[in-house]
């Protein structure tokens, strides 16, 4: 039996997903906010797919007291190529919309799952590296820790809050959009 092509509406939905993927490039994906008694306004580390923003220098300056390595773009080689991967993913999504083949869509969804999984793994790895690889000569000794990917954590006088950025939400929305054609064009 010859597979039926995905409907035009599904194709449009997948196109929209491609647009969201591209859009996510221009927004932060993930953010960690540090609060302390003397920093009630919070210090930010904002992760874009291609750069870091926020009060990185100040956070680094404070982190040296517990012997944490500096956050810097050099320490995250991913930032150099991540945006190309994202553009590639967007191109594949657009291609799927044009081909309108269910099998291709399955493949794309698979790619999304693998990519997302890799991203989460990579970030967790980075957080573990920074939190556990503390200098033995640091003036303030604390137990190694792993800041959570999402949610609160307390280290010394700092409470950190990790949240997803708009970019991440766009990616999640794109993923959900990819699932819609599966339901819409289900074989009746």
């Amino acid at each position: 039996m010859k597979a039926k092509k995905l409907s035009l509406v599904s194709s449009l939905v997948i196109t929209l997903a491609a647009v969201l993927v591209v859009l996510s490039l221009f927004f932060p994906w993930w953010q960690m906010i540090f609060f302390a008694p003397q920093y009630p306004e919070g210090l930010n580390i904002i992760v874009y797919p291609n750069k870091l923003e926020g009060e990185i220098d100040i956070v680094n300056g404070l982190n040296h007291y517990i012997g944490m390595e500096n956050f810097s773009e050099e320490n995250f080689p991913e930032l150099a190529y991540l945006s190309y991967l994202v553009i590639g993913l967007a191109a594949l999504t657009l291609l799927t919309a044009i081909l309108r083949k269910k099998a291709v869509l399955y493949g794309l969804i698979g790619l999304f799952i693998i990519g997302g999984g890799l991203g989460v793994w990579d970030l967790t790895r980075a957080l573990r590296k920074f939190g556990t690889n503390l200098s033995p000569t640091a003036p303030i000794k604390i137990d190694p820790f792993v800041p959570p990917l999402l949610g609160h954590n307390t280290v010394a006088n700092f409470v950190t809050e990790s949240v997803l950025g708009y970019g991440a939400y766009f990616l999640i929305a794109a993923f959900i959009l990819l699932l819609i054609p599966l339901w819409k064009d289900r074989t009746r």
Binding site: E55, D57, I58, G61, Y65, P139
Partner: protein, 622 residues
């Protein structure tokens, strides 16, 4: 059946239910108004933690040479900014820039502060002040609350009658309190009337280069010039200042300068003076363009006034100026319009020292003499144009109507107010909220600290019937103050990186020590919580020089973080500077003492501030 009807009606029902449950239909605005009128005095001045004052008060610090910054209405002292005197707490007078500004002077007598103005209203950019002690003027930047420039004013001694700025800060005028010979040369006091002059300087401020400059000077008669104000709106091209000692007494002024029934207000058109200078109508003396009024005619007039006046203040509408009698118990209201007319018609009653005297009766609107009010000194205004005059001798503030002369209200203050300051009370648009009496005598107002008492500032609510609602002790000695709406001042928190500054070091690995003959230049970094002077050295926080070397330390604070200021001091070397967040500051000195001298951060910066130290090693000669 239309499906959207149940959906829409469901939504509507939800909104209605939510509105009924959560919306507050009571009129909250009215509630607030009602509660503010019933606030107690304590509630009016209480600014809870987390909230800030509505106004800044800049009070001159007199012979402390400093400026005191207070919050209004809380009357909390926020900051002392050194201007004419060194201050080890901020390294003022120690680092290169401020050391050059102060020169050899170790004190100043800061008198009348004046905000920069745009269209006759404070613009919150700069604060100017004068030094009666050593004849200087200063400009303070209100982004950083630091002094950018100080100028020595030649031919003048004690610019007490200043500072006042024209309505777009074109000029700041500095008339002198003491007459001296041109160039302050030696001349016998027997030749006072011929050889001495009361020189007034027209000073400009270049806001791009942060530079004060003397545009021209005027060799006024050898009288004492006391206070002044610039015109506003229709009188914007004009300015007024009071004089005393038109008797030209040279000794025992208390008696001898109080003899004549009349002294003068000098009324001058600064635009005309600028034009005269442009037309070459001046003599070049001591390197200054000097207008001699008896020779270079025009632009300057005298207005007779009750003897020994102190303040002269222009009403917010710019139509009148009010002289306060000091020794005559009255305020005199003059009309600018009538003065212009009299000048036009040459309605003069002779001249003094070559300057035409305008006919008093032609331009005087009214003499105001509130019953038993003695020693009127200085007048401020509220939003309705009502005048508030300090009475030094009868220790009170009198509120009166310049249009009718009617006394409206009066309140006793403790004691002997010199100036008072109302919220933006000398601008074209006073706020009409607060008035602060700057009292010379506090007597037993506060806990005793021995025979010398602090001065006192009393906060008066002028929104209704005048009432003193707060009293704050203050260091000697505020002469005049200015109150500005807090939101007009836009400070910076961190100095921006300046990649063009060759003295700045932002990267740790670039901290270095360079030797050039017997000059040693240190390009160092201060950061939480260490110094890095030489990144490649075995001990990066050590500076080693030879005895007699000239040492330049260019220190950059690389903590670009709010309120993280570092200090730098070397034990026993009598020096200390501060580097504010992001700032690069230089200190220069000769290592004349051989030995071992610990250096340390003087401004508490972090939990490991105590560890922020190093050594300054000076190898002895031979």
């Amino acid at each position: 059946m239309k499906k959207w009807i149940p959906i829409a009606s469901g939504l509507l029902a939800g909104f209605v239910a939510a509105t009924i449950s959560f919306a507050d239909f009571s009129n909250s605005t009215n509630n607030q108004v009602a509660s503010s009128t019933t606030k107690s005095d304590a509630e009016k001045v209480y600014v809870p933690f987390g909230e800030k004052d509505d106004y800044y008060l800049f009070a001159s610090g007199g012979h402390s040479g400093q400026m005191f910054i207070y919050g209004v209405p809380s009357m909390r002292h926020i900051r002392t900014v050194p201007v004419f005197s060194p201050d080890s707490a901020t390294g003022y007078g120690f680092d290169e820039h401020s050391k050059k500004l102060l020169g050899d002077y170790t004190w100043g007598d800061l008198h009348h502060p004046a905000f920069s103005e745009t269209n006759g209203d404070y613009d919150g950019k700069y604060m100017f002040a004068t030094d009666v002690g050593n004849s200087r003027a200063a400009a303070m930047d209100l982004e950083t609350f630091t002094v950018k420039d100080i100028i020595n004013v030649p031919n003048t001694s004690g610019p007490h009658c200043a500072a006042f700025v024209t309505q777009n800060t074109e000029y700041m005028f500095l008339p002198t309190r003491f007459a001296v010979p041109i160039g302050s040369e030696y001349k016998s006091l027997d030749d006072y009337s011929d050889q001495y002059r009361g020189v007034m300087s027209a000073v400009t401020f270049d806001q791009n280069k942060d530079k004060l400059n003397i545009a021209y000077q005027v060799a006024l008669p050898p009288w004492s010039y006391d206070l002044s104000d610039a015109g506003k709106k229709s009188s914007a091209d004009w300015a007024v200042m009071t004089t005393y000692n038109t008797e030209e007494a040279t000794t025992n002024l208390e008696i001898n300068a109080s003899q004549a029934d009349r002294d003068f207000i000098v009324l001058f058109n600064w635009k005309e003076l600028v034009k005269m200078v442009a037309d070459g109508q001046y003599d070049e003396v001591t390197g200054q363009k000097m207008i001699f009024p008896e020779k270079h005619k025009g632009g300057i007039y005298l207005v007779p006034v009750a003897k020994s006046p102190h303040g002269v203040d222009v009403t917010p509408d710019g139509k009148h100026f009010i002289a306060s009698g000091k020794l005559a118990p009255s305020m005199t209201v003059f009309s600018f319009e009538k003065a212009f007319e009299a000048i036009e018609k040459q309605d003069f009653a002779g001249e003094r020292n070559g300057i035409p005297i305008i006919n008093y009766d032609s331009i005087m609107e009214r003499e105001v003499n509130p019953e038993n009010a003695l020693g009127p000194l200085h007048t401020q205004f509220d939003d309705k144009g009502m005048a508030y005059t300090t009475m030094f001798i009868s220790s009170e503030i009198v509120k009166w109507d310049p249009k009718t002369g009617e006394t409206l209200d009066r309140v006793p203050v403790q004691y002997s107010p010199g100036h008072s300051v109302a919220a933006e009370g000398d601008t074209v648009a006073p706020d009409g909220k607060w008035l602060i009496a700057l009292n010379k005598i506090a007597k037993d107002s506060y806990l005793s600290v021995g025979p010398s008492h602090p001065e006192s500032m009393q906060l008066i609510d002028i929104s209704g019937k005048m009432k003193v609602i707060q009293s704050s002790p203050v260091n000697p000695e505020p002469h005049y103050a200015q109150i500005i709406k807090a939101d007009k001042i836009k400070t910076i928190e961190v100095y921006p990186k300046d990649e063009n500054n060759k003295l700045a070091t932002y990267k740790q690995d670039q901290a270095r020590i360079e030797r050039n003959g017997n000059e040693v230049h240190v390009y160092g970094i201060a950061m939480r919580s260490k110094f890095i002077f030489d990144a490649k050295a075995k001990r990066p926080d050590v500076i080693e020089v030879n005895q007699g070397d000239k040492v330049f330390i260019h220190l950059t604070n690389t903590d670009f973080d709010e309120d993280i200021t570092h200090g730098f001091a070397i034990n026993s070397y009598n020096l200390n500077i501060e580097v504010q967040p992001g700032q690069t500051n230089t200190i220069e000195f000769t290592a004349d003492k051989a030995g071992t001298f610990p250096l340390y951060c003087t401004n508490f910066c972090s939990a490991l501030h105590q560890e922020m130290t190093g050594y300054f090693l000076v190898k002895p000669n031979k």
